[in-house]
C-alpha cells in the first residue's frame, strides 16, 4: 500500500484523524484511516486519545437531559427489553451489578439538594433584603440630615456673600474697638465697618468673651445726641459680619454689657470696648 510510505507524524498532523472522529470522511478515506490505525500503533493511540478528549469536551459542555426525556426513552425501549430478556436469560456482564442504577434516585437526591439550596438561598436573600432595607432607611435619614445641613450652610453662605458684596461695593471705613483701657476684658477686640453715606454698620467680633444667659453685649453709636443703642452683638461668631442698625452720625462706637435684650442707655461701668471714628 502506498499509504505506508507516508510519514506517520505527518499523517497524524494532517487533521484527518479529527475528521474521522467527527464522521466527516468519505468511505474511501475512512477505510484508509482504519487501515493506517491498524498498521501503526502510534496512529491508533492518537485516535484513542483524541476520542477521549472529545468525550471529555462533550461531557464538560454537556448537560443532563430532563428526567421526562429519560423516562420517554426507556418507555420507548421497554418492548425491546422484554422480548430479549426472555430469549436471553443469560446474566448480564458481572459488573452491571456494581453500577446498578435506580434511575430516580440520583434525580431525587439532586432535586432535594436543589430544594435545600434554593431554600437556603431564599432565606439568605430575605435576610440580605431586610438588612439592605434597613441600611436604605438609615441612609435616607442621613441624607435628609445632610440636605438640611447643606441648606443651612447655603443660606449662611448667601448671607455672608451679600454682606461681602455690600462691604466691597460700599464706602466703608473700619473702626477698631479695643478693651485695653478698661477693666472688663483687656484683650477684647471688635471691628466696626461703617458706611456713613449709606448709614450702614457691620461689626466683626475678633475677640470677645462669652456671657452668661442673662446678659448681652450691646453696641452703641456715640453721636451728638449721646449714645444710641444699635443692636445686640453675638460673641459666638468671631470673624463673621453682623449687620447692625443704621447710623448717620457718630464720633465713636462702644460695646457694653447689658441685661438680656439690651438697655435704653448704656451701663458705663460695664464698658467693654471703645473705638473713636478717626
Amino acid at each position: 500500500m502506498k499509504e505506508f510510505s507516508v510519514n506517520i507524524q505527518e499523517y497524524i498532523e494532517s487533521g484527518k484523524l479529527e475528521l474521522f472522529l467527527l464522521g466527516e470522511l468519505n468511505e474511501r478515506e475512512r477505510e484508509e484511516v482504519i487501515a493506517m490505525a491498524k498498521a501503526h500503533p502510534e496512529i491508533q493511540q492518537e485516535l484513542d486519545s483524541l476520542e477521549e478528549a472529545m468525550f471529555s469536551l462533550d461531557e464538560l459542555t454537556g448537560v443532563e437531559p430532563s428526567i421526562q426525556t429519560k423516562e420517554k426513552i426507556f418507555a420507548t425501549l421497554e418492548e425491546d427489553f422484554q422480548e430479549k430478556k426472555i430469549s436471553t436469560p443469560t446474566a448480564a456482564p458481572k459488573e452491571t451489578k456494581t453500577v446498578k442504577m435506580t434511575p430516580w434516585k440520583p434525580f431525587a437526591v439532586a432535586a432535594s439538594l436543589l430544594a435545600v439550596l434554593a431554600s437556603a438561598a431564599a432565606i439568605y436573600f430575605a435576610g440580605k433584603f431586610y438588612e439592605t432595607d434597613q441600611k436604605f432607611v438609615a441612609l435616607q435619614q442621613e441624607q435628609t440630615v445632610l440636605a438640611d445641613n447643606l441648606n443651612q450652610v447655603k443660606q449662611e453662605f448667601e448671607q455672608t456673600d451679600s454682606r461681602l458684596d455690600r462691604l466691597v461695593a460700599g464706602d466703608f471705613r473700619r473702626i477698631e474697638m479695643v478693651g485695653e483701657s478698661f477693666g472688663m476684658q483687656k484683650d477684647a477686640k471688635v471691628d466696626v465697618f461703617w458706611d456713613q453715606s449709606q448709614q450702614e454698620v457691620f461689626i466683626a467680633v475678633n475677640r470677645l468673651n462669652s456671657l452668661s444667659a442673662s446678659f448681652d453685649y450691646q453696641l452703641w453709636a456715640i453721636g451728638p445726641d449721646g449714645p444710641v443703642g444699635i443692636g445686640i452683638v453675638d460673641p459666638s461668631q468671631p470673624f463673621s459680619l453682623q449687620q447692625m442698625n443704621a447710623v448717620a452720625e457718630a464720633g465713636a462706637f462702644a460695646i457694653t454689657i447689658e441685661p438680656k435684650g439690651g438697655s435704653e442707655s448704656p451701663t458705663l461701668e460695664k464698658l467693654v470696648v471703645l473705638g473713636e471714628v478717626a
Binding site: 476520542e51 461531557e59 459542555t61 454537556g62 437531559p65 426525556t69 422480548e83 448480564a92 442504577m101 439550596l117
Partner: protein, 177 residues
C-alpha cells in the same frame, strides 16, 4: 464496564446495560446535540430519537471501524444537523456562537451547569481566533469541514490543520480541568 461488555450487553438488549450506557454517556451526547440546537425542548426531542436509534441500531455498529463513543456521538451530531437543516427549525433556535452557548450555560439555573459554563469559556479562551472560528463552525453550527472551506474560501488543508491545532489545544487544556 469494558467497552466490549457494554457492546455485548447492548446487543442482547439488556436493560441494565442500557441504563449504564445512559448514565455514563447521556450528558456528553446531549451536549453534542445542545451545542448545535439551542432550543432545549427540540434538543431533548432529538436526543430521545438519537438515543433510541443508538440502542436499536447497535447491530449495525462495527467495532473495527471506530470506537463506540465516536459512533454514538456521530449519530447524535448527524441527527442534530439533520434536524437543523429540516425546515421545521427556525433560524432562532440555532446556537450561533460559542459565546451564545457559554452564555446559555451560565444563564442556566443549575449550579452544576454554571460551573461547567465557566470551564468551557476558559477552555475556549485558550484557542486563537482561527482555531476558535473552526471550532465554532464545526462544533456549534454543525458545518462540515468542506462547507467551511467553500463558504469562507479557506483551503481545505488549512481547515484541517486548524481543526487539528484546535483539538490539540483543547486536549491539552481539558486534562487540566
Amino acid at each position: 464496564m469494558e467497552e466490549k461488555e457494554l457492546i455485548q450487553g447492548l446487543r442482547e438488549r439488556d436493560r441494565k446495560t442500557v441504563e449504564y450506557l445512559y448514565e455514563k454517556y447521556s450528558r456528553a451526547l446531549f451536549g453534542v446535540i445542545l451545542r448545535i440546537i439551542s432550543d432545549r425542548d427540540l434538543a431533548e426531542e432529538v436526543f430521545h430519537d438519537a438515543f433510541v436509534k443508538i440502542t436499536q441500531k447497535i447491530d449495525s455498529y462495527d467495532e473495527s471501524k471506530g470506537r463506540l463513543y465516536t459512533w454514538m456521538a456521530n449519530i447524535c451530531r448527524n441527527s442534530a444537523i439533520d434536524k437543523l437543516r429540516s425546515k421545521e427549525i427556525s433560524q432562532s433556535s440555532r446556537t450561533n456562537t460559542i459565546d451564545d452557548f457559554v452564555y446559555g450555560l451560565e444563564g442556566g439555573a443549575q449550579t452544576q451547569e454554571k460551573i461547567d459554563g465557566i470551564g468551557v469559556k476558559e477552555l475556549m479562551d485558550q484557542l486563537n481566533t482561527d482555531q476558535k472560528f473552526i471550532i465554532e463552525y464545526i462544533y456549534f453550527q454543525g458545518y462540515t469541514h468542506s462547507e467551511i472551506a467553500e463558504e469562507f474560501d479557506i483551503p481545505l488543508g488549512t481547515v484541517k490543520s486548524r481543526l487539528r491545532a484546535a483539538h490539540q489545544v483543547l486536549k491539552k487544556n481539558i486534562e487540566r480541568i
